[in-house]
């Protein structure tokens, strides 16, 4: 009963009279109410209930907006269902804010019944179900006039809610329509203002991708032109087309391109953080930079393996412990070699074990360091039955 409103019995602009019936009683859920022996008037937008004669005179009556009604059914009066349907049950959606005051503020029930003393008129029932289905309140002309009148401005905002309340195919269609409308609105807003466009750019790209993929699905290979055109439109808007998998014929080309991109991206980053970064961090940075077309960890790994072939200044390094890092080729090695050389000069002769103790790193890592130092010509090796050891490179330092 809380969905009803007290209002003068006057039709709004755009609201049309449909049908009337008499000797109608209202039930709140299953409970009887005081509203008995009344007339009911069905309009394109509402059901009005009033004492006989009130409605034609335009007096105050009960008004129920049809957008509350999401389902109707018939119910037989008697215990044994004799004599045909006597009541119509209207299942209602929740009460909406902005509703004018009615007979009740809250209601236990989410349905009301209209009980027809003379039985449910089939025509009335049909008219009612048609009126509910037609949703005359959703038509644009209706909306504008209602906002001018503003006796009840809530329908506009209410409509999407009520459409969601509807189940079945109609409801699904409505929601798709809503989405299209929102997309439309979004596009028009985007192109009005450049700053807004920049915000909307991401949405634009995704929408365009959706559309292009839909085109592709529908028309097959022919639509390559369209998708290319789409991409060119996007590019003219200044949105970069990041390296995507489908842009390349084969995987290896893709990986090469990706390797180049990673190399460009990561040079600055690596210089900042000391020349070495774990691959997981690299993945995060790369994806953050790309923004849209994200890269899977496998793709990143495969691309990093190719870094040396594309002559990148960094390379993938796998430590024996299994951890993978991306390391600048120049930076780290020099540092390591320098510090190791100092230690060599201090101790004269270093084995990996000794170095691991001095530098507080694992033995295998210490080995790597010594090899690096040797590679830079700052150490020379001594292989014997005693094992592998390193000396400062006196060959080059002694004249």
């Amino acid at each position: 009963m809380d969905r009803f409103e007290y209002i003068d019995a006057r039709l709004f602009d755009g609201e049309n009279y449909v049908k009337r019936d008499k000797n109608v009683k209202i039930y709140d859920g299953d409970d009887k109410t005081q509203f008995v022996d009344g007339e009911v008037v069905l309009t394109s937008h509402r059901i009005l209930w009033g004492k006989p004669g009130d409605i034609p005179k335009g007096n105050v009556c009960l008004s129920l907006h049809l957008y509350y009604v999401f389902c109707i059914e018939e119910e037989s009066g008697g215990v044994f269902g004799l004599g045909g349907p006597k009541r119509i049950i209207l299942h209602l959606g929740p009460s909406l804010p902005g509703k004018r005051p009615g007979p009740a503020v809250v209601s236990l029930y989410h349905y009301i019944k209209l009980s027809f003393k003379d039985g449910v008129d089939a025509a009335f029932y049909k008219a009612l179900s048609d009126a509910v289905a037609n949703k005359a309140w959703e038509r644009p002309t209706q909306l504008t006039s209602l906002t001018i009148n503003s006796p009840n401005a809530s329908p506009r905002s209410v409509t999407p809610v009520s459409s969601k309340m509807r189940s079945g195919i109609v409801g699904i269609e409505r929601s798709i329509e809503e989405q299209h409308r929102a997309t439309d609105a979004s596009i028009s807003v985007a192109f009005q203002d450049l700053t807004k466009l920049m915000e909307k750019a991401k949405e634009m790209v995704s929408i365009s991708k959706n559309i292009s993929s839909k085109i592709r699905e529908k028309q097959g290979d022919i639509s390559e032109d369209d998708t290319v055109r789409f991409k060119s439109y996007l590019m003219s808007l200044g949105i970069d087309d990041p390296v995507t998998r489908d842009a390349f014929r084969s995987d290896s080309e893709y990986y090469m391109g990706l390797a180049l991109q990673i190399s460009d991206m990561m040079v600055a980053v690596l210089m900042d953080c000391g020349g070495i970064m774990s691959l997981a961090d690299v993945w995060c940075r790369v994806n953050r930079a790309r923004g849209l077309e994200l890269v899977s960890p496998e793709d990143l790994l495969n691309a990093c393996k190719l870094l040396e072939t594309v002559d990148a200044p960094m390379s993938l390094r796998k430590f024996p412990s299994g951890a993978c890092v991306l390391q600048l080729n120049s930076q780290q090695d020099e540092e390591v070699a320098r510090s190791t050389t100092e230690l060599l000069e201090q101790h004269g002769r270093l084995t990996p074990v000794k170095l691991s103790q001095l530098a507080n790193v694992s033995v295998l890592l210490a080995r790597e360091r010594l090899f690096t130092t040797e590679r830079l010509g700052l150490a020379c090796r001594d292989e014997s039955i005693e094992g592998l050891a390193f000396f400062p490179n006196l060959f080059l330092t002694t004249t």
Partner: protein, 175 residues
């Protein structure tokens, strides 16, 4: 065994491991070349047999407990061959001739000695050259016969001598 002043590298353990770093390696091999030449010259030897010389003090420094492996010696000798300082005697590459003087140098040395001793236009046996009293004190005294012959052949090419054989002896005539 003649006294030889070992270079500092000889007591530097890494000297006995062929270095992977190219620059270091170049220096190392150069040092070995000079050491080998010095050693052979001092000991009046011209050949190295890889199989036997692993225990020679040249390649084996017992004081630091380091020695060159056969492979390492071969690497050094092959490197020397590139600059004409050594040559394998046979395909097995076990025995190498080391030219601590080049063949040309030997040839010139012998010719100069021959001229100085008035042996032009006369015949001289190889034995005389190598072990004769006249040549004592010359560098080529006791020179390996094969090398001697090669040296003389290089002279022959220049037209300064002619090799000949007679009576189971080999001789040479200087012009």
């Amino acid at each position: 065994m003649a006294e030889i002043s070992w270079p500092w590298q000889y007591n530097f353990p890494p000297f006995f491991t062929i270095q992977p770093h190219s620059e270091t390696r170049a220096k190392q091999l150069e040092a070995w070349q000079q050491l080998i030449a010095l050693y052979l010259k001092t000991n009046k030897q011209s050949t190295i047999d890889i199989r036997e010389s692993q225990n020679s003090p040249l390649f084996n420094n017992s004081s630091i407990n380091r020695k060159l492996t056969a492979e390492a010696i071969l690497t050094i000798l092959e490197d020397m061959a590139k600059s004409g300082k050594a040559a394998p005697v046979d395909k097995s590459k076990n025995v190498w001739e080391v030219y601590w003087h080049s063949l040309d140098e030997w040839g010139n040395m012998i010719y100069n000695w021959a001229s100085a001793n008035g042996m032009n236009n006369s015949v001289c046996t190889l034995f005389e050259l190598r072990e004769g009293e006249n040549s004592v004190g010359e560098e080529f005294h006791g020179l390996d016969t094969n090398i001697l012959i090669k040296a003389l052949k290089s002279l022959e090419v220049k037209g300064k001598c002619e090799l000949m054989e007679f009576d189971d002896n080999q001789g040479v005539k200087f012009f």
